[in-house]
C-alpha cells in the first residue's frame, strides 16, 4: 500500500530489462531478428507464438544462455551481453523443472543461496527455504526426495527454487506444458497471485494463447523470429494490427479482398462477388492492396429482418455454449462464418434452427481491415 503513495520516480519508470535490436543467428538459421522490447518493472509479460517463433531464444538471451549475434540485452539499464548466466540476477523455471535429482527438496531450493559469496549462514538459508516452501504452499516438504513428488509438486519446488533468490526477472519456459489441464488452470491462478504478492517481474514463454490471455499484463506475439505486436490482452483482441494476431488471439472470421477506398477512419474492401466490407484499418493500407477483413463472431448479429449492412445467410449449424449460442452460417458470396449470439439477443429474436434463412449484420466500425502478414 505504501508504494502507491510514493511519487512516480525515474527509476520506477525505467524498464527493468530491455531487448535492443537483439538478433540471434545460428549460421544461416535466424532464431530471432531485431527484437525491440522494454520490459516494465513488476509486470507479467508473455512471449506468445508457435514453436520456432523465437520466443524461447528471447528468454534464453535474457537468462544469458544465448549471446545475441547483434544488438543488446539490458538489465536495469546495464548492458549484460557478456555477463554469463551465473552472474545475472535472473532466475528461470525450466520446462521440465530441471530439479537436481541427487538433492532433497530443501537442498534444491537452497542451492542458489549457497552459491552466494560470502555464503549466508545455514540458519538463514534454512529460514529462507522454509519461507519459500510456505509461499508455494508446500510447508514441511523440505526433506523429501525429488522423485517422490508429483508433477505439480515438482513445479512448485522449481518455482520456490527460483523465487527464493529474489531475482530481478523470473523467467518461465513453458512451465505448465507437462501438467494436465485441470492442474494447469490451478497453477495459472496461483502463479498470477504469486506474481502480485511478490512484485517480481515475470516473463512467461508459452504457445497457449488462453494461458497468455488469462495471466499476462502484456503479451508479446512473435512469429518467425520477429515481434509482431506487443500489447495488453484487450488491446490485442480489440485492435490486432495483422491478420496473424487476430487469428492467434481469440476466434475471428476472415474475408480476403482488395482495398477499394480509403477515407478518414474508414477503409473499404472488395471481397468476393462484388460485395464490400467497410471497416477500420489499424495500420494504413493503400488502395489496390490485398487485405483481410476480420470480424469477431460476437460482433455479428443475426436477425430475421434486413437492416443496415446485412448479408442474407442460411443457418448451417448451432452449438449451445450456455450464455451464448454459436451459429455457423453460410452466405453464397462470403462462404461460411461464425456468429455468436447472446442469450439475451436470442430471447428477443427467437432461436434459429439449421436450415433457417436469416440476415447477418454488423455495425460500421466492427470490421478491422488488416494487412495479410
Amino acid at each position: 500500500m505504501e508504494s502507491n503513495l510514493k511519487p512516480f520516480s525515474e527509476t520506477q519508470a525505467a524498464p527493468i530489462a530491455e531487448l535492443r535490436g537483439a538478433s540471434k543467428h545460428y549460421g544461416a538459421v535466424v532464431a530471432a531478428e531485431g527484437l525491440n522490447l522494454a520490459i516494465r518493472r513488476g509486470e507479467f509479460l508473455s512471449f506468445l507464438g508457435p514453436s520456432g517463433c523465437g520466443k524461447t531464444t528471447a528468454l534464453r538471451m535474457l537468462a544469458g544462455f544465448e549471446t545475441p549475434t547483434s544488438g543488446d540485452i539490458l538489465l536495469d539499464g546495464q548492458r549484460v551481453n557478456d555477463v554469463p548466466p551465473h552472474q545475472r540476477p535472473v532466475n528461470m523455471v525450466f520446462q521440465h523443472y530441471a530439479l537436481f535429482p541427487h538433492l532433497t527438496v530443501a537442498q534444491n531450493i537452497g542451492y542458489g543461496l549457497r552459491q552466494r559469496r560470502p555464503r549466508p549462514p545455514e540458519t538463514e538459508i534454512a529460514r529462507a527455504v522454509d519461507q519459500a516452501l510456505e509461499t508455494v504452499r508446500m510447508p514441511g516438504f523440505g526433506p523429501r526426495r525429488i522423485w517422490e513428488m508429483s508433477g505439480g509438486q515438482q513445479q512448485r519446488v522449481a518455482l520456490a527454487r527460483a523465487i527464493v533468490n529474489q531475482p530481478k526477472l523470473l523467467l518461465l519456459d513453458e512451465p505448465m506444458a507437462a501438467l494436465d489441464k485441470k492442474l494447469r488452470r490451478e497453477m495459472q491462478i496461483e502463479l498470477q497471485t504469486l506474481q502480485r504478492q511478490l512484485g517480481i517481474t515475470f516473463i512467461l514463454v508459452t504457445h497457449d494463447q488462453e494461458e497468455a490471455l488469462s495471466m499476462s499484463d502484456r503479451i508479446c506475439i512473435m512469429r518467425g523470429g520477429r515481434i509482431v505486436q506487443v500489447g495488453s490482452p484487450r488491446e490485442l483482441y480489440d485492435r490486432p494490427t495483422t491478420r496473424y494476431v487476430a487469428d492467434f488471439v481469440g476466434k475471428s472470421n476472415f474475408f480476403a479482398g482488395k482495398v477499394t477506398k480509403v477515407a478518414a477512419g474508414r477503409t473499404e474492401l472488395a471481397v468476393a462477388a462484388g460485395r464490400q466490407i467497410a471497416g477500420v484499418a489499424p495500420v494504413d493500407i493503400a488502395v489496390g492492396q490485398t487485405a483481410t477483413a476480420s470480424l469477431r463472431p460476437e460482433q455479428i448479429a443475426l436477425s430475421r429482418e434486413t437492416a443496415g449492412q446485412t448479408v442474407p445467410v442460411e443457418v448451417i449449424n448451432r452449438i449451445f455454449l450456455g450464455e451464448h449460442t454459436e451459429y455457423l452460417v453460410r452466405n453464397i458470396d462470403l462462404g461460411d462464418f461464425l456468429v455468436l449470439v447472446s442469450r439475451q439477443a436470442e430471447a428477443s429474436e427467437g432461436g434459429f434452427e439449421p436450415g433457417d434463412q436469416a440476415f447477418a449484420s454488423w455495425t460500421d466500425g466492427a470490421a478491422l481491415i488488416l494487412s495479410d502478414d
Binding site: P84, H86, Q87, M92, A98, F100, H102, R161
Partner: protein, 271 residues
C-alpha cells in the same frame, strides 16, 4: 535350439566349474576328486611367489585404474564439446582401442617402448650430471601401468560418456542460472550425476588389469603379475594350488563386475 544353447553354455562354463571344484580337492591330482579340503587355498596364500605376484597385480591394477579413471573421465567431458568429423574420428579410435586383440596391443606396445627406450637412454646418460647414476628406462611397473591404463581409459570413456548422455543437460543450465560458477556446477551437479559411471568405469578398469595376461606378458619385463605366474606354473603341470588361485581371481573379478553393474543400475534409477 534349446539343446544347442544349453550345449554352448555347458561347453563354456563346465571347465570353469571344474577348476573351482578341484580347487577344493583334498588330493593332489588334477583329474580325480579325493574329498573336500581348503588346504590349497592356504598353500597358495602362504606361497611367497604367489603373494609377490599378487602384490604386483594389485599395485598395477590399482594404479592403472586410478589413472584410467582420472584421464578417461576428463576425456569424456572434453569430448562433450567436440562435434562433427573430429568427434567421429575420436569415437572410432576409442572403439578400435577396445576391439583390437590384446596380442596386437601387447606386441605393438612392446616394440614402441623398446624403441623409445633405446632412443632415450643414451640421451639420459649423456645429460645426467653423474655419469654412472643415470636412470635407465626399462620394462617393468611403469610400462605395465601405462599399457593397462591406456587400454582401460577407452573403457572408462565409453562408460562415463554413456552416463553423461543420459544426464539432463538442463541441470547444468539450472545450476548456472542459480549462480554456480562452472567449477561449482561441475562439483555440485555434474560429478554427483556421473559418479556411478565413474565408479563403474574404475571397477571395470581394475578388473581388466587384474585379469589381463596377454598385454602384461609382453610389457612386464622382469615383473610377474598373478596371471603370468599362473601361466608359468602351468608349464610345470596343473596343481590344485593353481586351481585355487584361479578360483580366487575369478571370485574377485565376478564380484567387481557385479558391483559395477549394480552401481550403474542404481545410478540409472536415481538419476
Amino acid at each position: 535350439m534349446r539343446i544347442y544353447a544349453l550345449a554352448v553354455y555347458l561347453f563354456l562354463y563346465i571347465p570353469i566349474g571344474i577348476i573351482a571344484l578341484f580347487s577344493f580337492n583334498a588330493g593332489r591330482h588334477a583329474s580325480q576328486f579325493q574329498g573336500f579340503s581348503t588346504q590349497w587355498y592356504g598353500k597358495a596364500l602362504s606361497n611367497p611367489f604367489v603373494m609377490d605376484a599378487l602384490t604386483t597385480s594389485l599395485t598395477v591394477a590399482l594404479s592403472s585404474a586410478v589413472l584410467a579413471t582420472l584421464f578417461g573421465t576428463m576425456a569424456a567431458m572434453a569430448l562433450q564439446s567436440v562435434r562433427g568429423r573430429l568427434r567421429l574420428a575420436f569415437d572410432a579410435l576409442i572403439y578400435i582401442a577396445v576391439m583390437v586383440p590384446g596380442i596386437v596391443i601387447g606386441i605393438a606396445t612392446l616394440i614402441a617402448l623398446v624403441t623409445v627406450f633405446d632412443w632415450l637412454n643414451p640421451i639420459l646418460a649423456a645429460i645426467w650430471p653423474l655419469a654412472d647414476a643415470a636412470p635407465k628406462l626399462t620394462l617393468g611397473y611403469g610400462s605395465l601401468i601405462a599399457a593397462h591404463g591406456l587400454f582401460a581409459m577407452a573403457l572408462v570413456i565409453i562408460i562415463v560418456r554413456a552416463r553423461m548422455a543420459g544426464m539432463d543437460r538442463s541441470l547444468i543450465e539450472a545450476s548456472a542460472d542459480l549462480g554456480a560458477t562452472p567449477w561449482g556446477t561441475f562439483r555440485q551437479v555434474t560429478l554427483p550425476q556421473i559418479f556411478p559411471g565413474i565408479l563403474a568405469g574404475f571397477l571395470l578398469a581394475f578388473t581388466f588389469s587384474f585379469d589381463d595376461f596377454i598385454i602384461a606378458f609382453f610389457v612386464a619385463g622382469s615383473q610377474t603379475t598373478l596371471p603370468i605366474y599362473v601361466f608359468s606354473s602351468i608349464r610345470r603341470g596343473v596343481t590344485p594350488e593353481i586351481n585355487a588361485i584361479g578360483t580366487m581371481v575369478l571370485g574377485v573379478s565376478l564380484l567387481l563386475l557385479v558391483a559395477a553393474q549394480a552401481i550403474l543400475q542404481r545410478g540409472r534409477k536415481a538419476g
